[in-house]
């Protein structure tokens, strides 16, 4: 469906995306995770031809993605990180504009606009100028807009950034409904609970490279499904264990050795994996990548 082959993007001397190869399958809900500056947005922008790869290829449905590829663009819906609605227009007009750009006939366009305004619960405010809307409402218009042309592939770049927990959950609900209709979704986020709630499979990026790939469960198992956290002098460190028993044994050992720092044991979250990997020294990331590549080969 979406194939990235050795994708690299350099800005002057800085490498934003470094030899990224990835295969996203049809109908998958894929999460691209990573800290700020990991190269997630650049990857999405390259997918949408807004940024040009320095090297490597992007293949969608077996065709090379280029800036002048209208047929491929018609298959993709984009919810960008930056709210890029026309502020002077109303939600209805923004959706109308999008529908026209995608060549949807008038009657169908009108029906689709009503349907989507209802879907994102903005019927009541469809004719107010977008400028006055709150961040969450603008996000909802963005999502509705991306869906206007019924894309098979949906790219969501940090769709819930800066939103309150209620609105965030509302948007998760919307997005989850889409994937159940069989759309392929690529989501970037640095909210790990978001990835855990939504994605079948995640890829972890750090400094432009893909350092982990798998289902959230696989990633947790690989790192250690249980974590013992030690609070020492205001700093919290996690130690990962394959079983609860191993974690308990470690805690007892600490106790016997006379450590008095507060300790706790719990199940590993995706966030722990993320922090474990992104905080690891570069050599460790290199070796992780190497193991992953070996696994892929075998």
């Amino acid at each position: 469906m979406i194939v990235l082959e050795h994708l690299t993007k350099k800005f002057d001397k800085f490498t934003s995306v470094d030899n990224l190869s990835l295969h996203i399958h049809k109908g998958e809900f894929f999460g691209l995770l990573g800290p700020n500056g990991a190269g997630k947005t650049t990857t999405i922008r390259m997918l949408m031809t807004l940024a040009r790869p320095t090297s490597g290829r992007i293949i969608i449905d077996g065709q090379d993605m280029t800036r002048n590829a209208p047929a491929l663009k018609a298959e993709i819906g984009l919810v960008p990180q930056h709210i890029n609605l026309d502020n002077e227009l109303t939600p209805r007009e923004n959706l109308d504009l999008h529908g026209r750009l995608f060549g949807i006939p008038t009657k169908e366009r009108r029906e689709r606009i009503e349907e989507l305004l209802h879907f994102v619960e903005l019927e009541g405010r469809a004719d107010e100028i977008v400028r006055k809307f709150s961040g969450g409402m603008k996000r909802r218009v963005l999502i509705a807009r991306a869906l206007m042309h019924r894309p098979h592939i949906l790219l969501l770049d940090e769709p819930t950034i800066g939103l309150d927990p209620m609105t965030r959950r509302k948007i998760w609900e919307l997005v989850r409904k889409l994937n159940t209709n069989g759309q392929t979704v690529l989501l970037t986020t640095h909210y790990l609970e978001e990835a855990e709630a939504l994605c079948n499979r995640v890829g972890l990026m750090n400094k432009g490279r893909l350092v982990e790939l798998g289902t959230p469960e696989e990633l947790k198992i690989r790192t250690g499904p249980f974590v013992v956290e030690i609070d020492k002098g205001g700093e919290r460190r996690g130690h990962f264990f394959p079983t609860r028993e191993a974690g308990l044994a470690f805690m007892q050992q600490l106790h016997h050795e006379g450590h008095t720092d507060p300790v706790s044991l719990r199940a590993t979250h995706l966030e722990d994996v993320f922090i474990h990997i992104t905080e690891a020294p570069p050599s460790a990331i290199g070796s992780l990548q190497a193991t992953r590549e070996e696994k892929q080969k075998s």
């Binding site: 031809t49 800036r67 227009l89 026209r100």
Partner: protein, 254 residues
């Protein structure tokens, strides 16, 4: 070009024109006021203020200066209808990405935006002409006069689009205005005849696009026949900026 590509080109251009028209309507008075104020001041100061009594190149100065003012109005109108909004759409609002990610060709984006800008410029120019007619100035306004004006509009809308896509910060739009558009407003035979300018400088000024518009419009308005040379030069500049714009549209990246 296949039938499908032609259809999608038309669809893209039409959509951009529709959007621009919506905004034009919504900001009508604001736009109108800001685009008309400068040319009106010129008209009052140079035209009615000192022009009524002065004879110049065989006509009244007022009749001499009006084609110049109309030319600079359309230049400013078209350039600014494209350069500023497109630059903001590209660098700040990111609304330009809505075009780039839509299934319309770069040719459609370029043609649509330039055409929309040119129509805005033509509108300002027409308003200006209507005003001067109300003041009882006699000029021969023929279809050819409008064709020339429209070429001028296309040219500067193209220049604006190219500038908007290639500059790296919004303050550079102001630089284009200060160092390119404003000097042309004054020097390209708009307020005075280039015959009074020393040789080499006059030669340079005669190459500039706006000079072709002012001399061409003046020739048409005073019934001196078809200014083929000026028309050709304008068509050349308009095509040049169109092609530069199209290339910029393929290359732009933020």
């Amino acid at each position: 070009m296949s039938k499908a590509t032609t259809l999608s080109l038309w669809n893209g251009v039409q959509t951009i024109l529709w959007q621009e028209y919506l905004l034009f309507e919504r900001r009508f008075w604001r736009n109108m006021a800001s685009t008309m104020v400068t040319p009106l001041l010129y008209l009052i100061a140079f035209g009615f203020g000192l022009g009524r009594g002065i004879r110049f190149e065989g006509t009244s100065y007022l009749e001499f200066v009006i084609p110049g003012i109309v030319a600079l109005t359309t230049m400013n109108g078209s350039f600014n209808a494209v350069a500023t909004p497109v630059n903001i759409a590209r660098m700040y609002d990111k609304t330009f990405e809505e075009y780039l990610t839509a299934p319309i060709s770069m040719l459609a984006i370029t043609s649509g935006r330039i055409l929309a800008g040119a129509l805005r410029g033509l509108f300002s120019g027409t308003m200006m002409l209507v005003l001067t007619l109300l003041f009882g100035v006699h000029l021969k306004i023929t279809p050819l006069f409008f064709l020339m004006l429209f070429l001028n509009c296309l040219l500067f809308a193209g220049f604006g689009f190219w500038a908007a896509l290639t500059i790296q910060s919004h303050s550079d739009v102001t630089k284009f205005n200060s160092f390119v558009i404003n000097p042309m407003s004054f020097l390209c035979g708009t307020f005075f005849s280039l015959q009074s300018i020393p040789g080499p400088l006059a030669l340079f000024l005669k190459i500039l696009p706006l000079t072709h518009t002012t001399t061409g419009l003046r020739a048409i308005a005073s019934g001196q026949g078809v200014p083929w040379w000026n028309l050709t030069a304008l068509a050349f500049f308009a095509s040049l900026f169109f092609l530069l714009s199209l290339r910029a549209c393929y290359q732009v990246e933020d």
